[in-house]
Symmetry: C2
Subunit: 327 residues, 2 copies
């Protein structure tokens, strides 16, 4: 099994490597959310990032380190959708070819993103793990370089650059909330944020419809024995692997918060109603955690990583049909 090892210097080097290839995304204060929940709430808008999600950071950090020779072989990856688009974009930018495998649950908008940049899209399997097995088949068959979306030091270091960018813009956050699927983001954020300020708390977020991080993190062993239920947070769903949990424990992630599916849906609508931002369910878990009033967030300056904006319009309109007392 892979053991991940990322230090602050790796995140710093990632930042210097990718800074000309990614957007410096807006850091936005939310008066509305702050007033509702009684904390000071800010959004780091990675949904406005190139290709609509933070995944381009880890992906770019990886692909920019490939040798000329490896680059010529082309790249391959599995993804729930956002890494797929990022890799397609990065491969095109650097003049090579990409094959990406996504499970059948992948939203159409993310599939279109892949095709838009000229990559080959393989839709395979019921979940991420089946898509990943397919991608490794293609790796072996075609000799392509596998670019992992979270279980790679390069991915973790790349996602960590978000913390650097945000904290240098506003230096006094108490808490960072990180939507957690594979775990590259929560790992990278913890490594970078704690190097800049050891007092900052970093929490990973999952929905109660897919909480294997919660079980694995606190039990300190891989535990995918969950009731996986349908979720609007397609980027966070499904079984996980051990290396990113192991790194999360070692690098001082402060906890995993599980939020309800309903509060997550409410978060999507809240962002649309109050800020006119379309965000993924996978990002709305940050709002869900704030709405639910978790103790760790009370009276704090909270940085929410809004990881992506790639949500299908029909799913979005269905979520917006729910009614709330704040409307």
């Amino acid at each position: 099994m892979v053991t991940l090892n990322v230090e602050m210097k790796d995140v710093v080097q990632a930042y210097s490597r990718i800074r000309d290839y990614v957007a410096k995304t807006p850091l936005i204060y939310s008066k509305e959310t702050s007033e509702r929940v009684g904390s000071e709430v800010w959004f780091k808008m990675e949904s406005l990032q190139i290709v609509g999600s933070h995944k381009i950071r880890g992906c770019m950090n990886n692909i920019l380190q490939l040798s000329e020779e490896d680059l010529k072989k082309g790249v391959v990856a599995a993804s729930s959708g956002n890494h797929a688009q990022a890799l397609a974009y990065a491969a095109k930018l650097l003049g090579t070819t990409a094959v990406v495998c996504v499970p059948e649950s992948t939203p159409m908008i993310k599939r279109h993103g892949v095709l838009k940049y000229g990559a080959k899209l393989v839709v395979y399997g019921a979940d991420y793990n089946e898509a990943e097995a397919k991608a490794h088949e293609i790796e072996a068959l075609e000799g392509r370089k596998y670019v992992h979306s979270f279980e790679a030091n390069e991915a973790v270091a790349g996602q960590g650059t978000i913390a650097i960018e945000a904290l240098l813009e506003k230096g006094d956050f108490d808490v960072i909330l990180a939507p957690t699927g594979g775990g590259g983001l929560v790992d990278g954020l913890a490594i970078a944020a704690k190097a800049l300020n050891p007092d900052i708390k970093v929490y990973g977020l999952q929905t109660d419809t897919s909480p294997p991080w919660y079980k694995s993190f606190y039990e300190k062993r891989l535990n995918n024995d969950c009731d996986f239920l349908p979720t609007c947070a397609d980027g966070l769903e499904g079984e996980i692997t051990w290396p990113n949990v192991d790194l999360a424990i070692r690098c001082g992630v402060d906890g995993i918060i599980v939020v309800s599916e309903q509060a997550t849906r409410e978060g999507v609508k809240w962002m649309a109603a109050k800020h006119h931002f379309m965000i993924e369910g996978s990002s709305a878990v940050c709002l869900a955690a704030l709405f639910e009033g978790h103790e760790e967030l009370k009276d704090k300056k909270v940085l929410c990583i809004i990881t992506g904006g790639n949500i299908d319009l029909d799913k979005f309109t269905k979520i917006c049909a729910d009614k709330y007392d704040w409307e």
Copy 2:
């Protein structure tokens, strides 16, 4: 006596505080210097900073934290010249008044800089310490806030932002060279650089015409018992105080390198001849250290902080009259 306490989180907050008020200065690779000395040499061009030196960073970080009430009282400081100009600029920007005391050795260009921004210039005493005593007199008499140029946490944290800016642009430096007068710069750089990458070495530089940092740092006690001789590095000359040395030892500064006055003069001419940059003698100590071939710099990626560009034209032309075998 003051005890300085600065951590990375203070430098991060300083960065977020001052970033809209200071320039992001160029980071320049020097092919010529690299080929001559056999290391990879880069310059962080704080000589192109607002008011022509890095001092605006610490100064701005200090003055932006003053209360409305304190700001109304006006500010006062002593300086060998660059902090004086920075404070004059900052005070004008924030709509208050400044009095700055400089010793008689202060170059005309730095005096003019002070007057240009509408501050009151008091030329007093043979050295920095005499000017400082005068500034404290004015502080007591007029009730102004004293803004120290190096012996203040705010100054140290402000100068440290240079390391953040440089390392996020290029993340793989081995060594940072910091001209060292009061010591705010070397302290701040060590704190920030080592938080970003613990492997980076940070050295303070002085000339052999004014080496009290060398004595004090290695003897771990204040020792100003030096033969002070005339120097082109007016920003680094004279007696020092203990708090910044104490902090340098505590925050892991790796050493103090003493360079010759002659190599420093050569550095000024080298930068003019090879790069068409006019830099202060106080900044040219970085080049001097490289020319002299100190062991610590061999085969390394070296970041030179070119702290300032405020050199009198007549002094500059005299230095350029020296002849070298590389011409």
